[in-house]
C-alpha cells in the first residue's frame, strides 16, 4: 500500500511535466486492488475494489446502488450524499477502502414505492424535485440534518449557539441544506417538504 502511494505521488507530480520517463514502469503495473467488506443498508457486502475507488463509485459501479448520484465528483453539489454511521457525507470525497465496518445507509434503504420514508413522501407531496437527480442526496442530507438539529448542533443561522434546543426555522433548514444543489431550483418545495417532517406532519 505504501509503495503504491509513493508511486502514485510520483505519477501525480510528474504528469504536469512534459517528460515522465522517470516513473518506474514496474510500479505502475502493480494491481491496486483491495478486498473490503462494507456494511450497506444493513447487509454485509464483500467486494474487491481499486484502492482509488470512491465510496460513491463503489456503490454505483460495483454494488448496483445507483440511487446515489454523481453530480460533480468534487464535493460541490451534494448529489452523492449518504449516511455513514448516521452522519451525512459526500460519498464522492471518501474512498471505499476507508469504510470497512462503517454503517452505510443509502437512499435505497430509506423506503420504497408503497412504503416511503416520511421525507420521501413529503418530497413527492410537496413536489420537492423535478429532474430527480439531486433528490437522493437532498433526502439523505435532510435525514442527517434533522438528526443534527435534534442533537442541538448549531448552524450559521442559529441565533443562540449556546442553546441546546434548535428551532428549525426555514432559515435554519436553508442554511443546513445548502450543501445540496438543485439546478431545477426546487428549493422552496424542498424546504416545505422538510418543514412538514420537522414539524411532525403527515407521514
Amino acid at each position: 500500500m505504501l509503495r503504491w502511494i509513493a508511486a502514485r505521488r510520483r505519477t501525480v507530480l510528474t504528469t504536469s511535466k512534459a517528460d515522465e520517463t522517470d516513473i518506474e514502469p514496474g510500479l505502475r503495473d502493480i494491481p491496486e486492488l483491495s478486498m473490503i467488506t462494507l456494511r450497506i443498508n444493513g447487509t454485509k457486502r464483500d467486494l474487491e475494489v481499486d484502492t482509488r475507488t470512491t465510496l460513491l463509485d463503489a456503490l454505483r459501479e460495483h454494488l448496483g446502488l445507483t440511487g446515489t448520484k454523481k453530480g460533480c465528483d468534487h464535493g460541490q453539489c451534494g448529489a452523492c450524499t449518504v449516511l455513514v454511521n448516521g452522519r451525512r457525507i459526500n460519498s464522492c470525497l471518501t474512498l471505499a477502502v476507508m469504510h470497512e465496518d462503517d454503517e452505510i445507509v443509502t437512499i435505497e434503504d430509506l423506503g420504497e414505492p408503497g412504503h416511503l420514508h416520511p421525507l420521501q413522501a413529503a418530497f413527492v407531496e410537496c413536489d420537492g424535485f423535478q429532474c430527480g437527480y439531486c433528490t437522493s442526496g437532498q433526502i439523505c442530507s435532510a435525514v442527517g440534518m434533522l438528526a443534527e438539529a435534534a442533537a442541538g448542533w448549531p448552524s450559521h443561522a442559529t441565533a443562540d449557539v449556546s442553546s441546546s434546543q434548535i428551532a428549525l426555522t426555514d432559515e435554519e433548514i436553508r442554511e443546513r441544506m445548502s450543501g445540496n444543489v438543485c439546478r431545477c431550483a426546487a428549493y422552496p418545495n424542498i424546504v416545505a417538504a422538510i418543514r412538514v417532517v420537522a414539524e411532525g406532519g403527515p407521514t
Partner: protein, 742 residues
C-alpha cells in the same frame, strides 16, 4: 383531471433512487469506461499524439484519437435543425476551442481510464485565437436569419426620428456574461453494440435528434440506432443535442464490440458541451411625458464560435412586447475561438428581457412614473411588428394581479429610501413574454383488454413532468382513473417527437395524446356499436360518455376492457400528432405567447453591498394549465434561474487559452438553499384556443423571462445604483452606495 395538482407519477421512483438514468443502465457485458481528454489550447493543430504510455497503462483497451477514429459524416447544413446534424468528434487534428475532445481512453475501470487519460501526450501547434469578446466588436457580422427563418433585423417607422422627438429618452449599453446550463446530471451515456445495431442509453432532451445525429456522424442507418432515455437529470438546453461523450462512446463500443460508457466530468461540462453566448446590447427608448413610447431600439451583439454559427434570438421578444410606432431590432455576431453557443433555458428572452426590462425601469425612473403603470400604458392592441392580433394576451392582468398580491403600493419610488436595520430594501418589477412554439410530435395510445391504457412517444421527461401530464391527458381523454394509464417515453422505437425544449414539449405531446385518445374513442365506439354482443349495439354514439373505465350511452354501459377483449384482444391502438407551426394557420394569423409579471424584493447591505433576495412573486398567463403542481414548480425554478442570472452566474474566459477558468460548481456560482427565500408563482385561469385544441402553452422557460430584470430593478430601487454589466455583484454596487448616517 387535466389541471389537477396530481403528484408526479414518477415521484415514488425518483425519491427512492429507483429511476434509472443513462449511465446507470446495465445491458449485456460489464461495460468498459471511457474518459475524455480535452485540448489544452483554444486554436491550432495537433502535431503529434503519443499514446504508447497510455496503451501500456493497466486496464486500457483503446485510445481513440483523430489518428485512428473512423471516418465520420460531416455536419450537413441542409438538415434544418442543428440538433439533428452530425457531431464529428476526433475527426481532424484541428482544435476549434479549448477543451475540445482530442482523445478518449477506454479502460476496464473508471479509475484506470481516468489515470490513463493523464498519460496522453499531445503536442500542439497553437495559433493566436480570438477570445476577447469586447476587443473583437469590430468583427461583428449580420447573420442571414434566425431559427425558423425569422429575420435577424427588423425596422418599423423611423427610430432615429422618433427618438429625436421623444420628450424623454434612455440610451444605454448593457452586457450579459457567458452562462452555462449545468444540469445536475452530467452528459452521460452507455452504448451497447448488438450486431450491426447500437443501443444508446443517453441523457438527451430529443431522442429523435440524438438518433439522427449519431447515425449521421457514424454514417449508419438511423434504424440501426436505438436510443433509450428514460430519465434525464436536467437539460436546460445543454442536452437538446448529443455531444462528444455519446459519439465517442459509440465509436469505442463499435470498435471494441463491448459496452462502453462515458460521462463528462463537471469540469468538462464547462469546456466540451455548450454555453449561452455573451452579449453586448444597446437599448434606446423614447417616450412622451405621459409614458407612451414613440421609439424602441434593441441592438444585440453576441459571440459565436467561429466554426459553428449559433444565433441566440435575443431581440425577438422586444418585437412583440410593447407598442411604439418607431421600432428597430438587430442581431450581430462576433466570431471567436470560444466554446460554441447553444440554447440555454429561454434562449433569447433570458438575456434579452434581462436588458430590455431593465431599460424600461430606467425609463420609468426618468419619467418619474410607476414602472407597472408605464408598462400598462404601452400595452399594444396587435403585435406591433407583425400586425397580427395576439391569440390570448393577458400581460396587463398579470401586472395588476401581481402588484396587488405583492403589495406593490408600498414601494417607495425614490431609490435608497427604505431601510430595515442594516439593509437597504427595494422593490422591482419586470414583464415576462415568451413565444409559444409547436413542432411535429406523435404519440400512440393503446388500450389493452385489462382496461389499462399505455401511452407511447419518444418524448422525454427532463424533470418537466411529462410522465404526469400525459397520464392526466390520457386519463381524461379516455375517462380512466390515472392509475389505469401508463406512460412510456424516451425510446426511439416509439412514435417520434421533437422532445423537450423551447417550452414546446408539453403542448406538442399533450395535444398528440389528446388526438390519439379522440381517435381511440371513435374506434371503441365503432367496435361496440357494431357488435351484437355489446350492450351498446346499435345505439347512437353521439351521446357516449367515457367515465370510470366504461363508456355509457343512454343508460347502457360497457367496460372499455371488455370491448377490447372481444374485438381485438391484442389491444386497440390509435395515434395522434401535431405538425410544425409553419403548417398550422393559427401561428401565422396570431402572435401566440405566454406572459407574466415578476415582483422582487431585495435587501442590500448598507455597508458591504451584499445583495439578498427577500421574497419574489410571479403571476403568469400560460393558457390552460395541465398540472397545477408541476407547472408551479417549473415556474418557480425558472424564476430562480432569473435571480441567478441577475446576481450570480458568469463564465469567465481565460484570455490566453480561451477556456473557462471558473469551471466547477464552487466557482461558477448557482443558487443554493440559503440564497432562495419564499417564492411563489400564480397562474391565471386561461385557455388559448389558437395554440392547440387543449388551450395549452408551454411554461418551462417563461419563469426565467424577465425575472432577472425584476431583481436588478429592485437593486436599483434599494440603492440608486444601476448596474448594466451583469451579473450584479458586490464590487459593482459598493462604490455607488449612499453614504450611511453614522
Amino acid at each position: 383531471m387535466i389541471g389537477q395538482a396530481l403528484n408526479r407519477v414518477d415521484g415514488p421512483l425518483k425519491v427512492t433512487g429507483g429511476a434509472t438514468y443513462a449511465y446507470e443502465f446495465r445491458d449485456g457485458d460489464q461495460p468498459l469506461y471511457g474518459f475524455v481528454v480535452g485540448a489544452t489550447i483554444g486554436r491550432g493543430r495537433i502535431t503529434g499524439i503519443d499514446t504508447t504510455r497510455v496503451e501500456s497503462s493497466p486496464g486500457v483497451h483503446l485510445v481513440l484519437t483523430h489518428q485512428n477514429a473512423p471516418a465520420q459524416g460531416a455536419r450537413d447544413l441542409s438538415v434544418p435543425f442543428e440538433y439533428w446534424r452530425a457531431y464529428p468528434t476526433l475527426s481532424s487534428p484541428d482544435v476549434h476551442h479549448h477543451g475540445e475532445p482530442v482523445a478518449l481512453v477506454v479502460a476496464a475501470t473508471f479509475e484506470q481510464a481516468r489515470t490513463a487519460a493523464n498519460l496522453v501526450d499531445v503536442e500542439y501547434a497553437a495559433e493566436q485565437g480570438s477570445y476577447d469578446f469586447a476587443a473583437c466588436q469590430d468583427q461583428a457580422y449580420a447573420p442571414e436569419s434566425l431559427i425558423f427563418g425569422i429575420p435577424a433585423d427588423t425596422a418599423v417607422g423611423d427610430v432615429d426620428a422618433g427618438l429625436r422627438t421623444a420628450e424623454v429618452q434612455v440610451d444605454e449599453w448593457y452586457t450579459t456574461p457567458y452562462e452555462f446550463s449545468q444540469p445536475m446530471e452530467p452528459p452521460a451515456c452507455l452504448v451497447v453494440p448488438d450486431g450491426d445495431d447500437l443501443v444508446v442509453y443517453t441523457s438527451c432532451q430529443i431522442v429523435d435528434a440524438a438518433r439522427a445525429s449519431i447515425a449521421a456522424t457514424l454514417e449508419l442507418d438511423p434504424e440501426r440506432v436505438h436510443v433509450v432515455t428514460q430519465y434525464v437529470g436536467g437539460g436546460f438546453g445543454s442536452k437538446l443535442r448529443i455531444h462528444g461523450e455519446t459519439i465517442l462512446a459509440a465509436m469505442a463500443a463499435r470498435a471494441l464490440q463491448r459496452p462502453v460508457k462515458v460521462a463528462l466530468t463537471r469540469q468538462q461540462m464547462f469546456s466540451s458541451v455548450s454555453v449561452r453566448p455573451t452579449s453586448s446590447q444597446r437599448v434606446r427608448l423614447g417616450a412622451e411625458r405621459d409614458g407612451r413610447l414613440v421609439a424602441i431600439a434593441h441592438e444585440v451583439t453576441m459571440h459565436t464560435n467561429r466554426h459553428v454559427e449559433f444565433i441566440e434570438p435575443t431581440a425577438t421578444a422586444t418585437r412583440s412586447l410593447y407598442a411604439a410606432p418607431n421600432r428597430l431590432t438587430s442581431t450581430r455576431l462576433v466570431p471567436l475561438d470560444v466554446l460554441r453557443g447553444e440554447d440555454v433555458r429561454a434562449p433569447g428572452e433570458a438575456p434579452g428581457l434581462l436588458v430590455v426590462e431593465s431599460a424600461v425601469d430606467e425609463l420609468a425612473h426618468a419619467l418619474g412614473m410607476d414602472p407597472v403603470e408605464l408598462r400598462i400604458r404601452n400595452e399594444p392592441t396587435v403585435d406591433p411588428e407583425r400586425g397580427v392580433p395576439y391569440s390570448d394576451r393577458h400581460l396587463v392582468e398579470c401586472l395588476r394581479d401581481g402588484a396587488d398580491r405583492f403589495g406593490w403600493e408600498r414601494r417607495l419610488p425614490e431609490p435608497a429610501r427604505r431601510r430595515d436595520g442594516r439593509w437597504l430594501v427595494g422593490y422591482g418589477v419586470a414583464a415576462a413574454i415568451r413565444v409559444h412554439l409547436q413542432g411535429p410530435t406523435k404519440a400512440a395510445v393503446r388500450l389493452g383488454p385489462d382496461g389499462i391504457a399505455v401511452v407511447e412517444s419518444d418524448m422525454t421527461d427532463i424533470g418537466t413532468g411529462t410522465y404526469t401530464i400525459l397520464t392526466q391527458v390520457a386519463a381524461e381523454g379516455l375517462g380512466l382513473p390515472p392509475d389505469r394509464v401508463r406512460v412510456e417515453l424516451g425510446r426511439s422505437e416509439f412514435p417520434p417527437s421533437v422532445g423537450s425544449g423551447g417550452s414546446w414539449g408539453a403542448g406538442n405531446s399533450s395535444t398528440a395524446v389528446h388526438h390519439a385518445c379522440t381517435a381511440l374513442r371513435e374506434k371503441l365506439l365503432a367496435a361496440a356499436s357494431s357488435d351484437v354482443r355489446s350492450p351498446l349495439h346499435g345505439l347512437d354514439t353521439a351521446g357516449a360518455v367515457f367515465s370510470g373505465g366504461s363508456v355509457s350511452i343512454d343508460g347502457a354501459s360497457e367496460a372499455l376492457g371488455e370491448i377490447v377483449t372481444r374485438n381485438c384482444p391484442e389491444g386497440l391502438e390509435a395515434e395522434g400528432e401535431t405538425v410544425l407551426l409553419t403548417e398550422e394557420p393559427n401561428y401565422g394569423a396570431y402572435a401566440i405567447h405566454t406572459y407574466g409579471a415578476h415582483f422582487a424584493e431585495v435587501g442590500v447591505d448598507a455597508d458591504t453591498a451584499e445583495i439578498r433576495l427577500r421574497r419574489m412573486l410571479g403571476v403568469f398567463s400560460v393558457g390552460r394549465v395541465l398540472n397545477a403542481k408541476t407547472a408551479r414548480s417549473q415556474l418557480i425554478g425558472g424564476m430562480i434561474w432569473g435571480v441567478s442570472q441577475a446576481l450570480a452566474e458568469e463564465g469567465v474566459v481565460d484570455m490566453r487559452s480561451g477556456g473557462f477558468v471558473n469551471r466547477d460548481l464552487a466557482q461558477y456560482l448557482v443558487p443554493v438553499h440559503a440564497d432562495i427565500p419564499e417564492i411563489d408563482a400564480v397562474m391565471l385561469d386561461g385557455f388559448d384556443d389558437k395554440a392547440n385544441v387543449l388551450g395549452v402553452k408551454g411554461l418551462g422557460e417563461l419563469g426565467i423571462c424577465g425575472a432577472g430584470a425584476a431583481v436588478a430593478n429592485a437593486v436599483f430601487n434599494a440603492t440608486g445604483v444601476r448596474v448594466r454589466d451583469f451579473p450584479i455583484t458586490i464590487e459593482k454596487v459598493l462604490p455607488g452606495l449612499p453614504l450611511t448616517e453614522v
